[in-house]
Symmetry: C2
Subunit: 220 residues, 2 copies
DNA sequence: TAGATTGTTAATCGATTAACAATC
DNA sequence: TAGATTGTTAATCGATTAACAATC
């Protein structure tokens, strides 16, 4: 019986951070690290690090700490960094192009093997070696290539429609860049929302500025 | 005395979402909405919506609900959507270009008035009407234009260095797209980490697939 | 063996949800 | 006025932190 408790999203979101820090340690030829040292590097409590890792297994050794190489690989496995997922990009606009040229994907085990658009001026062009195809061919392509992931970079008025078509064709996960929350049954959706992130930045900037003003007033 | 309790980041991160939903209601000419209706639209509890909003003030009216227009403007003010911040982009690569062409910025009150790069082939080019300048001119430009925000899209090995230079020149907030956590005293940093987001997607896709396999096995 | 550090249980803290009096 | 819905306090839930026995 599958008794494994569901890991909270807060924990999962920290995994890529661990992965990055461990990669850096690996590059610096550090072979072992304790949760305490990692904690000082990352600004997370050692307790939380141990708690997080133990959601997935005991990767450390009492009295020693963690072997950097082992832990790096374990987290990679947990994140599916070795899965070699197939992905397509829908929407060959600025963001779509930027992502098509993004080098980190291959490194993480993702392969982009199709780009789709509606614009006749763009169809046929090559972006990072991949020919842009007409969106009418998308459904067929997804089925034929067993594509799991679709990266959505279309204007937000088309998002819902295109997402549903992709899901029907067999897409299992959507990486959604449009300023619109997507929810599709049985499909994993990761919403990016750059403009939300920017607004949070604006809020924090405003707060910081006001705090500052207040302190200045106090000093007078 | 400033007795206002600090609003948690979890609350702040929901504000742009409220803002988007209210904007849509506004477009549909909806004039009033209750926390209950909004809750059904957004998949958030009505209690949380009221709790969130009341961190900033009582914008509603008992027995009536919220006036969409009023609430939209209030949240806009809270987020500083009316502040007209000046921003520069550092790094005219694929991501920098995509962001320079991103239409939503102006709408949110951000103005990009400078793009910087080191590449002589790129310097002098125009991106969305803005000339790319050599990075040596950055410090002077920031001081002279009173630029508050820098958007960082440089390769991650330069990130820390460039960020610190920008901060010294007077930048107050950094929107960081490199796969490296930044922390700079007295500067607001919002890290985007696209590759982290993609790995979380990968994790969730893997989980969903395994769950499915497991269920299939059970049925046999 | 002694020292170090994990894995794990218990305590604390904060965020979400529920409940309801206030009031439009 | 009666009905509806807020603003706000109290209860619950979950996530983080602390503590410590297990063990390398």
């Amino acid at each position: 019986m599958n008794t494994r408790k569901k890991v909270s999203i807060a924990v999962v979101k920290r995994l890529p951070r661990y992965y990055r820090y461990l990669y850096n340690l690996l590059k610096e030829n550090v072979t072992r690290i304790s949760s305490k040292e990692l904690s000082q590097n990352m600004g997370i409590t050692a307790s939380q690090i141990r708690q997080d890792l133990n959601c997935f297994g005991g990767f450390g050794q009492q009295g020693y700490g963690y072997n950097v190489h082992v832990l790096y690989n374990e987290i990679g496995n947990i994140l599916g960094a070795n899965k070699n997922y197939q992905a397509i990009i829908i929407g060959a606009g600025n963001m779509g192009r930027a992502l098509a040229n993004y080098r980190n994907f291959e490194k993480r085990g993702y392969e982009i093997n199709g780009i789709f658009d509606v614009d006749m001026n763009v169809i046929g062009q090559k972006i990072n070696g991949i020919v842009v195809m007409p969106i009418d061919k998308m459904d067929y392509f997804i089925k034929n290539n067993n594509t799991q992931i679709a990266i959505l970079t279309v204007p937000h008025e088309y998002t819902k429609d295109v997402a549903e078509r992709a899901a029907t064709a067999g897409i299992k996960a959507l990486w959604n860049f449009s300023a619109m929350d997507l929810q599709i049954p049985d499909v994993v959706v990761e919403n990016v929302h750059l403009s939300d992130s920017l607004m949070v930045l604006g809020y924090r900037l405003k707060e910081a500025t006001e705090e500052n003003k207040f302190e200045e007033t106090e000093l007078k």
